[in-house]
Amino acid sequence: MHDAPSTAELVEAVKRFIDDTASPQLTGHAAFHARVASNVLATILRELEQRPHAEQEEKARLLALLNAEPDTPLDTLNRDLCERIRKGDMDLSTTGLLEHLKTTTIAQLSVDQPRYSGLALALQSRG
């Protein structure tokens, strides 16, 4: 399949249209939603760049943490993790659990809301 323009280029083009052409002509509620839409496209651009690598790392950590079969899908691993925490098999004292969750959440927030104050705090405490 073609990749020119790439997914990122197409998203960038739409974002530029919203920011430079559409938004200045909008007021009130529509202007607010246009700003949200532009932010969503920025999220998509970060996600295109970061998700593949972040998920690969997340999966590697989960496989080790849960001692699971290497071909287990990520969603299954996370459901399994939730189940074990819920049952009390894993908790705050489990070696590596909170560290894994912190790394995963930092990666998630770097896509979702990279300027959120809690992210800066988490990165700072990590040193």
């Binding site: 993790l81 939730c82 819920r86 705050l92 909170l98 896509v111 979702d112």
Partner: protein, 355 residues
């Protein structure tokens, strides 16, 4: 065919009529009230809708007679009717009642000037004074105009909370009762109904269950005491607004909700609302007759608060997911859940280091 046509028409007509008539009808009803209150020459002017809240309408207007103008706020059930409300929200008449109790206890609140029953020309509604001030969190935390106010706010909030919590509950109308663990159970049920596994939420919930503090005797809880619902002027706190989520519960809930990082608007280092320090708030709270709490007493409740806000974001995203509200805003809010996840991770790290 006839019955089909009728059923199609039914939802449209009342909506159109309500839209056409509402501003005019409200002005007429307000004017009738204003004449009894401020004299026969009183007129109503500048009626303007301020917010389109799902459970309540808020309107600004003023009355004027020969001597003076009086800026006022009308809080009104949508279309004047008690419509589908959030299950937690109390009614308008009760909200007006609580404002009067709060005023007597010395809480800064707008004086209520009139209360209207369903079936009146205004429908279910109340009128209160329009207080001067700002409610936008970012402005309060950053604008030069509030530079003098910011250092006063932690103490003022502590004082106001102690006064709210001191109101004798026997004198109050019947309110919902909810303590920390029952709120946790309620939000857990909602979270599980979405079938969207969030390991951070699981860890926070299991920690909260294992470490729940002994419940305290229930007091009147404002239920949404945070930046956004606090009116602030150059002199500091002028009004505690939005009593819709009031209930009976644990006093630490209100104190902690003000500390949740989501309401610090980027000023994380100031635990109280992004403007103040918790020991200062707690000192003023105790001096105004509240219980003696230490900052550590608030930790559990702050974690519950972050979890609740995270699940509320999921609820808002669910409106998109279910097709009920296809707006980009409802879709996007689903990507704010991770803000509360990082706050929970930071809080869990904190409690682990104390353990």
């Amino acid at each position: 065919m006839l019955s089909r046509g009728k059923s199609l028409a039914r939802p449209f007509f009342p909506a159109i009529v309500a839209k056409m008539g509402s501003t005019e009808q409200i002005t007429t009803a307000l004017e009738a009230w204003a004449k009894t209150k401020f004299g026969s020459n009183a007129v109503v002017q500048g009626l303007k809708r301020l917010s389109g809240g799902a459970s309540q309408e808020t309107w600004a207007f003023e009355t004027a007679n020969d001597e003076r103008k009086h800026p006022l706020i009308l809080r009104r059930a949508p279309g004047g009717k008690e419509a589908a409300r959030s299950s937690e929200a109390i009614g308008l008449a009760m909200e007006a009642d609580l404002l009067s109790h709060a005023a007597k206890a010395g809480v800064p609140v707008p004086p209520v000037l009139g209360v209207f029953e369903a079936g009146s020309d205004l429908g279910q509604a109340f009128i209160m004074d329009r207080i001067h001030g700002e409610t936008l969190g970012r402005k309060i935390l950053r604008d030069e105009e509030f530079a003098q106010a910011r250092p006063l706010l932690a103490s003022q909030c502590g004082d106001a909370l102690a006064r709210i919590h001191s109101i004798p509950t026997e004198a109050l109308p019947t309110l919902p009762v909810s303590d920390g663990l029952s709120q946790l159970a309620k939000y857990e049920t909602i979270y599980r109904s979405f079938d969207l596994p969030r390991p951070v939420f699981e860890l926070a919930m299991s920690w909260l269950k294992a470490n729940a503090p002994e419940p305290l005797p229930v007091v009147l809880i404002h239920g949404d005491f945070r930046l956004g619902n606090l009116m602030v002027s150059e002199q500091g706190l002028t009004s505690v607004l939005d009593w819709e989520l009031a209930h009976l519960g644990d006093p630490r809930e209100d104190i902690a909700w003000l500390c949740v990082n989501s309401w610090r608007f980027g000023q994380s280092e100031k635990r109280v609302g992004g403007f103040g320090d918790l020991p200062e708030l707690l000192k003023a709270y105790a001096e105004a007759g509240g219980a003696q709490f230490s900052p550590r007493d608030i930790d559990w409740w702050e974690m519950l608060g972050s979890l609740k806000w995270g699940i509320m974001c999921m609820i808002m995203y669910q409106a998109y997911r279910s097709g009920a509200d296809p707006s980009v805003e409802r879709a996007a809010i689903g990507r704010r859940v991770s803000e509360t996840e990082i706050d929970l991770v930071n809080l869990l790290e904190g409690v682990r280091s104390h353990a």
